[in-house]
């Protein structure tokens, strides 16, 4: 039998290997994906534009500055004016911030709820899982739009309430993904190994299992931002958004009665929503490919 010093020869091959974090490799894969990069660039432009735009284009979006329904390009207004004679370009520039903020916070809320419920039920199994999964199913069978409309109608159309209403109806998918990952990972030997090294339940869930469960959750969360933005637009279109805060959805909602006469007042903010959600979807798909390389082999 060979002595164990032979392993040193074995080890020499690693002389050149650099310590590359698994995430660094995923990032490399992401940036080789042109569609995903295009989505990321588009998204970056929209985010930066929404953050910086209001300081560059300083027209007040709430101010009635001109005659109503001035067509795009006419009278010096790039996007024209809406039914109250407000500058639509100013609305689009200022509304992006709110739309993105609502989308992001609603997605964060749903990820928080979904990960908590999914992690607990996947980790503890048994009656905890039974109870939490029944709750999840309850939320799954609720008609989401209707339920959030009821919430907003009952508790007022404030921005916080809209965000909450979107978050509370859209966490079930995250919970399912998280649970299935936890069910898979809790059986891994390194989890058993950490437990036998003195890890407590909370530590196992948050420090050992969760980081390894993250890739599909991150993908789900990214796509969630897109659908939350759409959701906010949908609620706004139905008139259920904060009338005092301009967002893309709110512009669409308030101009809805004039959609046949002044289509651009609805189409232009709608186009920005479309591009933003598309960009987010592309980034989400790119993340999926980069983080779950095994899925691509199918």
């Amino acid at each position: 039998m060979a002595t164990d010093s032979a392993a040193v020869l074995d080890g020499d091959r690693l002389e050149v290997a650099k310590a590359r974090h698994p995430l660094a490799e995923a990032a490399g894969m992401f940036f080789r994906n042109h569609t995903a990069v295009a989505g990321l660039v588009t998204l970056a432009i929209i985010v930066v534009g929404s953050l910086v735009g209001p300081y560059v284009y300083t027209v007040d979006p709430y101010e009635m500055v001109w005659a109503p329904f001035s067509e795009p390009g006419a009278d010096g207004f790039v996007f024209g004016t809406d039914y109250l004679g407000r500058d639509l370009f100013a609305g689009v520039v200022n509304g992006g911030r709110v739309t993105l903020a609502v989308g992001l916070s609603a997605a964060l809320l749903s990820v928080f709820i979904g990960v908590s419920i999914g992690a607990l039920s996947g980790y503890y199994r048994g009656w905890v899982e039974e109870a939490l999964m029944r709750i999840t199913e309850f939320f799954q069978v609720l008609p989401t739009l209707l339920f959030s409309m009821v919430l907003v109608a009952l508790f007022g159309a404030s921005l916080a309430m809209v965000t909450f209403a979107i978050g509370i109806v859209s966490w079930t998918a995250v919970a399912r993904v998280t649970r299935s990952e936890f069910l898979r990972l809790r059986e891994m030997e390194y989890v058993t190994s950490s437990r036998s090294s003195g890890a407590r339940d909370l530590g196992l869930m948050l420090i050992v299992i969760l980081p390894n469960a993250l890739p599909p959750i991150v993908v789900q969360a990214a796509l969630m931002v897109g659908s939350a933005i759409l959701f906010e637009a949908g609620l706004s279109f139905l008139g259920l958004s904060d009338p005092n805060v301009v967002s893309w959805g709110q512009i669409i909602g308030s101009n809805r009665p004039y959609i046949l006469d002044a289509g651009w007042t609805v189409a232009l903010p709608g186009f920005f929503i479309f591009v933003t959600v598309l960009a987010i979807s592309l980034v989400g798909d790119g993340l999926n490919d980069a983080l779950n390389p095994k899925l691509r082999e199918r």
Binding site: T3, D4, V8, G11, Y190, S193, S194, R195, S196, G198
Partner: protein, 341 residues
């Protein structure tokens, strides 16, 4: 038992350990069945010694070890580690006790957290159990890397950048980091190439010599067991059917199952009793779900008699250091029988 007489208090003492799992059956109102994974197992390991636990997959080897280490619940029984009754420990006391028992797992790919750098893999038990000061931990990790034949510059790498053998060295370093009293090696080389197997086995033996480690060595590879163990216990569907010192078990096996196992191993060693011809057993082990009465091996045993099917043979000492659970222990089988007559 030889283990005790050798040198005082056993490191691990298991008495009548039972582990059962509930298995859901089809049908809405069906009561869950009981799977008898481990059904009354007893053994001891003396300090610095190695007990081999052999048997086919599903015989309850790993389950025994996991239950003894309090990683799955035992239904009944008594487990002492260095004199401490571990089955009654709860909460923080149980957590602190974990430093005394560490595992080396079979699959070096799934047993290392892919998100941790090699040094953090080895360091995790120290951090979690609060062993040594943080500064001492770093030097302890360096020492462990040296100990298992890894180089300091490999501390920064991630598990996927190591070969299978090197990963298993990491697993070994991690397992001995907390200076455990008992190391449970659960098929530690089954997933490795033969050449690498030898390196890891020699590493384990060297570490045992240098640090006085005590091993519970689980394997289905009799060659590996013969190389590693002082004493061997053979398991069959949740029970120990034969236990003896290595030499005795390999030269004078008494249980028909053990004899069939040994006769199935091609051996180049003429001191082994391989001349007796092969004993072939057919069929599969009985289902561990609601298992049959009597000896579990009776359905496949070439020399079973009526009594074997009704009466469970107890594990009794046929010789000092040699326990067998068989009504017909040592009776001639097949080829043996024809030859002797």
């Amino acid at each position: 038992m030889s283990a005790v007489s050798a040198s005082g208090r056993p490191v691990l003492k298991v008495r009548d350990l039972e582990v059962r799992f509930s298995v859901k059956r089809e049908g809405l109102f069906a009561k869950p069945s009981q799977l008898y994974a481990v059904d009354g197992v007893s053994f001891e390991i003396a300090p610095g010694r190695t007990l081999g636990l052999v048997g086919e997959s599903g015989s309850g080897k790993s389950t025994t070890a996991l239950a003894a280490a309090r990683l799955i619940p035992a239904r009944r029984g008594h487990v002492e580690i260095d004199g401490v009754d571990v089955l009654s420990l709860e909460g923080e006391a149980l957590r602190q006790q974990r430093r005394n028992v560490q595992f080396i797992f079979q699959d070096p790919y799934s047993s290392l957290n892919p998100r941790l750098r090699a040094r953090d893999v080895v360091r995790e038990p120290l951090d979690r159990l609060g062993i040594d000061s943080p500064a001492e931990r770093a030097s302890r990790v360096a020492e462990l890397f040296r100990d298992v034949g890894l180089r300091p510059e490999q501390e920064r790498l991630f598990p996927h950048q190591f070969s299978g053998g090197q990963r298993q060295r990491l697993g070994v370093a991690r397992a001995i980091a907390s200076r455990p009293k008992l190391v449970i090696c659960d098929e530690p080389v089954s997933a490795l190439d033969v050449a690498v197997q030898a390196q890891i086995l020699n590493l384990l033996r060297r570490l045992q010599r240098e640090h006085g480690l005590t091993y519970l060595f689980i394997s289905h590879d009799l060659g590996v067991v013969q190389h590693m163990c002082n004493e061997v216990a053979v398991m069959y569907t949740g029970r120990i059917v034969e236990q003896a010192s290595r030499v005795r078990l390999f030269t004078r096996p008494l249980h028909p199952y053990t004899r069939a196992l040994l006769s199935s191993v091609p051996s180049a060693d003429p001191t082994l009793d391989s001349r007796a011809g092969r004993i072939l057993i057919t069929g599969d082990p009985p289902s561990p779900i609601d298992p049959p009465q009597g000896c579990r091996f009776a359905s496949r045993c070439p020399i079973a008699i009526e009594r074997c099917r009704s009466e469970t043979p107890p594990l009794v000492a046929h010789e000092p250091d040699h326990r067998v659970a068989c009504h017909r222990a040592g009776e001639p089988i097949g080829a043996d029988a024809t030859r002797t007559h």
